[in-house]
Symmetry: C2
Subunit: 146 residues, 2 copies
């Protein structure tokens, strides 16, 4: 095994472990401390619905990079907490449209600052150019494999 190859292994390790779990854990911790009983995964689904409401479950799969069973159960849990509702699509009876409730919109207000504060901390001392490079590289990695 060449040195170069092990260095690529390290990159894998870094991508997969350090930064993403650190950001997720910090945000989750901030939610908990604010008394918000929501998981980071549930928040990430709501995040996409706040940008565009009433998406199909399949569309949520695409946007959150999760598979269908994961989204099914995340929506189950969000429905239990009355944060979303499944609505039958008129045009295609196979489709569930996932729509926000009023509570979810209130939750958006309460999580904006926490999320921004967490990202500000996470990105401290990192330049716009560096961020752009990271986004481009991770997009390339994704496109290379999917």
């Amino acid at each position: 095994m060449s040195n170069n190859q092990f260095k690529r292994g390290e990159l894998y390790s870094v991508i997969n472990g350090m930064a993403s779990t650190a950001v997720a854990r910090r945000l989750q911790k901030n939610f908990r401390q604010a008394g918000l009983e929501i998981t980071i995964e549930q928040w990430s689904v709501l995040y996409h619905l706040w940008k565009e409401d009433c998406l199909s479950q399949q569309e949520l799969c695409n946007r959150t990079f999760r598979d269908k069973p994961s989204i099914t159960r995340l929506i189950d849990n969000l429905e239990k907490q009355k944060l979303v509702r499944r609505m039958a699509s008129k045009s295609d009876r196979r489709i569930n449209l996932v729509c926000l409730t009023e509570s979810a919109r209130e939750l958006q207000e309460r999580t904006i600052d926490l999320a921004n504060q967490t990202m500000n901390e996470a990105l401290l001392g990192i330049s716009r150019e560096e961020i752009d490079t990271v986004k481009q590289v991770l997009q390339k990695v994704y496109d290379n494999l999917v």
Copy 2:
């Protein structure tokens, strides 16, 4: 919510979802296709033991960015598959040293090519400088939060 802040949200989304899950899924798929019944999480523990054998569980927590219960159960499962053994430390009876078995060393030979091939595919068209930038940025993100 300013435009700039939502762009930071996108970065979070990218770090957390796309690239890391794409790499993990591809590697897992390659293992399965090669008839290797090992999860990507188990492999990541072995990866650190191949670099340095007989680490304590706590040290494996540090190196894999997992918490203690997660490592406990990963080691449980690796022990069931007879890939590692827990050995009591002579100097500190609180400590379990996790040591590789002969089967695990054979497994290393069989997974090297798969891992390298996956990383080659993942990193196609990405320069050394870009990789270095990504590593530095993700390290900074980690240091900012932990």
